[in-house]
């Protein structure tokens, strides 16, 4: 009887402690990498979305870290070829995190396959990673919601100031709305329809959330 008592008591206490701690755990990391993103939603000739093309610019500290050990022929100038192995490492590592890219087409989640056409360039002391995420199945959707975030907050994403999400080859009637993290107010004069909020991958209280989101509407 004592055995059982010991066991259950210890188990319960340990579980409480660990869970209480865990609740605080992952959300307590602060970002170590900052990414400024410019993206394009890519359309096929038939007007269906085929994928997303990203250009992610890293902050200079992380860029310097990532470049560590890579010897360019000319000091301070890194060619695309010289950076190819690093780009490979980058996209390979990103797979585990679903490329931080989350999409919903007409409310249904859309799945991406492995990236294609990826490369890095280095300019003004920072690295920019270019890659295209093809959709597993191209979709024709009235609404396409796209979100960019790291649930662990290790990477801080923000949309570029100008035209963060563009449409490439979209039908003429398609329009894109962009929502930045809660700290930033939506651009003036831009009214977000109810559909915007209903179709986001994250359900409720979007305003309080930390995601960069874009909504493409092709009525």
């Amino acid at each position: 009887m004592i055995d059982r008592f010991v066991k259950s008591l210890c188990l319960a206490l340990a579980a409480c402690l660990a869970f209480a701690w865990f609740g605080l755990g992952p959300a307590w990391a602060h970002p170590h990498v900052w990414v400024t993103s410019k993206s394009e939603v890519v359309y096929g000739p038939d007007g269906s979305v085929t994928g997303v093309r990203h250009a992610w610019t890293f902050d200079d500290m992380f860029s310097t870290f990532a470049l560590q050990g890579i010897q360019p022929k000319q000091k301070g100038v890194f060619s695309r070829e010289e950076l190819a192995p690093l780009a490979e490492v980058n996209v390979t590592s990103l797979k585990e995190f679903d490329y931080f890219t989350h999409a919903k087409a007409d409310g249904k989640k859309a799945t991406f396959t492995d990236p294609v056409d990826y490369w890095l360039d280095y300019r003004d002391n920072v690295l920019t990673l270019h890659f295209t995420l093809p959709l597993k199945v191209p979709v024709k959707a009235k609404t396409l919601a796209l979100e960019l975030y790291d649930p662990t907050f290790f990477v801080d994403f923000s949309f570029a100031d100008k035209e963060p999400v563009a449409l490439a080859g979209a039908p003429a009637n398609c329009k894109v709305n962009v929502q930045r993290p809660a700290a930033t107010a939506p651009p003036a004069g831009q009214q977000l329809g109810e559909a915007f909020f209903n179709t986001l991958t994250s359900s409720s209280n979007f305003g309080a959330q930390f995601a960069n989101a874009a909504m493409v509407m092709c009525p």
Binding site: C10, A18, W21, W28, H32, Q68, D98
Partner: protein, 372 residues
């Protein structure tokens, strides 16, 4: 079945339960949290912490970003170095509130053991110093000497991390074993005080003549002569003590942990905790190296460690005092008080093991060196 073997089995099963629990927790968390943002919709979306947590996070991020700018500034103007060091210190203080700086492990370790707050402070500073030194050594060797790539450094850190987490688990398992025995002993004393008293008596008898043949003979003859005497009990209890010698040696005696051997044990704790370098420090060091300011990066890392140590020491001290208060309250309830304290220590030991397991499983260390 003697109480001793009972207690022993209890301790053993405790150890197993602890291991199993940490595994289960990891699994439970796996299914709830790590499913990948696609599968979980709202749950996968980040909710930035608000209130104090959010403020601490925002400050960390702010300071961290400023560090990079400050290193660049120091390259052009040496006087910025002073600002950099001040910033590193502030960053360290705030950053220790985040995961990966061992405050949970150190605090649990202190609660599990009968440690003084002074020792908690020393352990915190030692762990932070080791952590800073490891980061400096890694970058000095990997980046400055052999020109390793970021990926190679990341891989190195991962190996060190794994070793560190395994050490934390080993530390927790050992503590749980010891404290589980202590807890079992306290249970015996609480629920079967007479037996315990006799056990104590038997222990004294044993000390006087430790299982000499003569003693056994005497015992036997005693047994023969008077079967209704307590000899029967004594015999059993002597056995108990023999079996349970381990329990008693490791049991509730605070002196054994606070005494001379305590420092060696403390060393294992600080190494286990401090082994894992802080990824922020590594980034800062590599950045400073690239600017040709490695010594400044080293200084910044050490000052950062000092800041970290202060926060961890404060939390550890708080934990020790909290335990002290609990202990004083427990003393007012004779019998169950001791049981409660042993239970608390046991739980703290289990927590160390659990933290190790969670860290190893990758659910608590969110400071990965991403994408390299």
């Amino acid at each position: 079945m003697t109480p001793a073997s009972n207690a022993r089995r209890a301790a053993q099963s405790l150890l197993l339960v602890g291991l199993f629990a940490s595994l289960l927790m990891a699994l439970a968390i796996d299914t709830t949290c790590a499913q990948g943002p696609f599968g979980v919709g709202a749950a996968g979306s980040p909710h930035p912490p608000s209130g104090i947590a959010g403020w601490v996070l925002a400050k960390q991020a702010e300071y961290y970003r400023a560090l990079g700018a400050m290193i660049r500034a120091a390259k052009a103007d040496g006087s910025a170095a002073v600002g950099l060091l001040g910033l590193s210190f502030a960053y360290g203080i705030f950053h220790a509130a985040g995961p990966g700086h061992g405050k949970a492990v150190i605090s649990s370790y202190l609660v599990a053991n009968e440690e003084t707050w002074r020792r908690g402070v020393v352990l915190s500073f030692a762990a932070a110093l080791i952590q800073a030194l490891i980061a400096i050594i890694i970058v000095a060797i990997a980046a400055a000497l052999i020109g390793a790539t970021a990926k190679m450094m990341g891989d190195t850190v991962r190996v060190i991390e794994t070793v560190s987490y395994l050490l934390i688990m080993a530390l927790g398992a050992r503590l749980l074993w010891v404290k589980g025995n202590g807890f079992a002993a306290a249970l015996r004393e609480t629920f079967a005080p007479t037996v315990a008293l006799r056990a104590a008596g038997a222990a004294v008898a044993l000390e006087a003549s430790p299982l000499s043949p003569a003693h056994r003979h005497g015992d036997d003859s005693h047994h023969h002569h008077d079967p209704y005497d307590h000899g029967d009990h004594d015999h059993g209890d002597a056995h108990h003590d023999h079996d349970g010698a381990c329990d008693h040696a490791h049991g509730p005696e605070p002196q054994t942990l606070g005494g001379r051997g305590g420092w060696a044990r403390g060393l294992s704790a600080i190494v286990a905790v401090g082994l894992r370098p802080c990824s922020g420090a590594i980034l800062v060091l590599v950045f400073a190296l690239a600017q040709g300011l490695f010594p400044l990066g080293v200084a910044a890392t050490l000052v950062m460690g000092l800041g970290t140590a202060i926060t961890v020491a404060a939390i550890a001290t708080f934990a020790v005092f909290a335990k002290g208060i609990a202990q004083r309250m427990a003393h007012q309830r004779a019998g169950y008080g001791t049981l409660l304290m042993r239970g608390l220590e046991c739980a703290a030991a289990a927590a160390v093991l659990g933290f190790g397991g969670l860290l190893l499983a990758g659910y608590m260390a969110s400071e990965r060196l991403f994408a390299v």
